[in-house]
Amino acid sequence: MYIGIDIGSTNAKIACIDRDENIKILLMKKTGFNSKITAKSLLLDAKKKFDESDNIIVATGYGRVSVDFANKTVTEISCHAKGACKIFDKDNLVIIDIGGQDTKIIDVENKTVKDFIMNDKCSAGTGRFLDVMSKTMELTIDEMCKIAEFGGGVKISSLCTVFAESEVISLIGRSEKKENIANAIVMSIVDKVATQTKRIDYKNKTVCLTGGLSEINFIKNALCESLNTDVLADSTGKFAGSIGAALYAKELEAKNEKFT
């Protein structure tokens, strides 16, 4: 079996594929404090579902180095590209991945990374931003995105999570409608991500959304509108990194560099 393990900042994922690149197993759990233990337990859970001892493992994600039993580590950028090409069955793609810690825009041509953009240090425009804001609003991220659809007319101008939070608090203080504030929060992330995407020549390419937020319709639709193009999403989108890693594991065997 070819196994990909993706240790993200919030969730850890595992994907197992067989010789014919059929996706056999997809599992996810919270990364928690110890990514090494999380990786091991994911592998154990997966192994309960098949009996094969000859496995090749590739680790990816920001915690990839802690997966010391992996045959190789590959960055999440390369893995995402490979995984998304498989999920959406395309050779050329522009991938928008809004992750917990960072947001990446990846330009893929012929199934390989041609260019990528990652947000700098701060958490504006990432999942973390929504997380912090939804807590301030006393809502879950899902709830916040749902009501955002019915709001509008308010804007958050600050790009920094800390300052944006105080803007939100003062909006609450001014008893602005909840859905308007929610809309402002979600749109601020959409605007930021759209601006980043515009640095890449995405016209004439399929644009897709992966990562934890890909199933939230409002975000997807707002991105469609802002980029003026279709944006695809898929329920397995959040596993793109681990699926890509599993595909790398298969390549590793072909190249016979299993133990480098």
């Binding site: 920001y62 590959v74 999440e76 950028i77 390369s78 041609k114 260019d115 990528f116 990652m118 700098d120």
Partner: protein, 382 residues
């Protein structure tokens, strides 16, 4: 026995080893000048028998002290340099008789004004571009004013011949540096760049240039010898990277180190730590030696110039000469000149079809993980 790794370490100790030498120099009546920038015409200091040392801040250790007086969102190089001076943490700043800066970027310019509260600080006025007919002459006048400032300060006379001798010596030094920078033109590269950098950086803290240059030449001979014997410190598979952008003395490990640990090798840098500072000789036989000096220095490519055409021409040439696989543009946080210019650099790279990555960083260690992922992903994609 010539042990290269040991030699490299020796060179990297130059800055610290120079502390004692600076003290001895001062005690025996010698003169020291603190300098920052590649535009500084070093020949004038040589001719005045003043030893120039680099005061460029490269550690975040002194930044908190600097932030008492300076804004937070300022380039770390400026903050760190100022921090060294206010906290008395840098012996070179402490022992400098004079600090010499230029009107380069706004942050530095204004920081120098604050330095002048602490030290005798002299500022050369650098033209903003070379496309004006008077620019070179203006720079020549500025160099002459610097000479006069040193004459007055130290009560000496500097003759044209003194300057001409200095020019000859600095030209020789530039030749040696170029030989060093061209080491990695070969395929595979002859050395990890970090080692080459240690060698060349040691010259920023040199108190005996002739001896130090000799040591460098011997080391280069040894690198050549080992290479011709078939030793390969760099794998043929390693991706060949060009570094451009801001000075990177304060972020060496996060940039060069990370590249060279992850399947890449830096073959050339076009920034102030690299070949840009050694390129172009001064015409030793020019009837007007000051004009010759001005001509050479004004052609340095830096984002503080507008337009900065030379950087683009140079980058094009280097990419093809060094068979570069990818360009990494290193921007120090809040450096507007290079941060804004990256748009044009990325366009140029697209045009000449070489992959481009820009990274923004500062002197702290908080972004090591992120940078590492970006650099690794970039190398994976080459």
């Amino acid at each position: 026995m010539f042990n290269l790794p040991e030699k490299f370490e020796e060179f990297s100790e130059a800055r610290r080893n120079g502390f004692m030498k600076a003290k001895e120099l001062k005690e025996s009546g010698g003169r020291l000048a603190g300098v920052f920038c590649t535009y500084t015409p070093l020949e004038i200091f040589d001719a005045a028998n003043v030893i120039p040392v680099s005061l460029c801040g490269m550690s975040d250790e002194t930044i908190p002290a600097a932030e008492v007086n300076l804004p937070k969102n300022l380039c770390p190089l400026i903050k760190s340099s100022y921090g060294y001076a206010v906290s008395d943490k840098c012996p070179y700043t402490y022992f400098s008789d004079i600090i010499v800066g230029e009107t380069t970027c706004d942050g530095k310019k204004k920081m120098y004004e604050m330095l002048s509260e602490l030290k005798d600080t002299y500022i050369l006025h650098l033209p903003q571009g070379i496309d004006r007919p008077y620019a070179k002459d203006m720079w020549k006048q500025e160099i002459i004013l610097l000479k006069e400032k040193l004459e007055e300060k130290f009560g000496i006379k500097i003759s044209d011949d003194d300057v001409r001798i200095a020019v000859k010596n600095r030209n020789k030094e530039r030749q040696i540096k170029i030989r060093l920078f061209e080491m990695n033109k070969s395929i595979p590269a002859k050395s990890k760049y970090l080692n080459l950098h240690k060698i060349v950086d040691s010259l920023n803290f040199s108190f005996n240039r002739l001896d130090d240059l000799k040591k460098i030449e011997e080391t280069l001979d040894e690198i050549d010898r080992e290479y011709s014997k078939g030793l390969r410190p760099v794998s043929e598979k390693d991706k060949r990277i060009l570094i451009t952008g801001c000075p990177i003395s304060g972020v060496l490990d996060k940039t060069i180190g990370e590249i060279e640990r992850n399947g890449g090798v830096v073959v050339v840098m076009d920034n102030c730590n690299g070949i840009k500072a050694a390129k172009n000789m001064i015409d030793e036989n020019s009837p007007d030696i000051y004009e010759a000096i001005a001509n050479r220095y004004m052609n340095i490519a830096c984002a503080v110039m507008t337009p900065n055409t030379n950087r683009f021409t140079q980058l094009r040439e280097l990419v093809s000469e060094y068979k570069v696989d990818g360009v990494i543009d290193v921007i120090l946080q809040s450096c507007h000149p290079f941060d804004v210019e990256k748009y044009k650099i990325s366009k140029l790279c697209k045009e000449i079809n070489v992959p481009y990555l820009s990274i923004e960083t500062d002197y702290s260690n908080t972004d090591v993980g992120q940078l590492s992922t970006r650099i690794q992903a970039f190398i994976e994609m080459l």
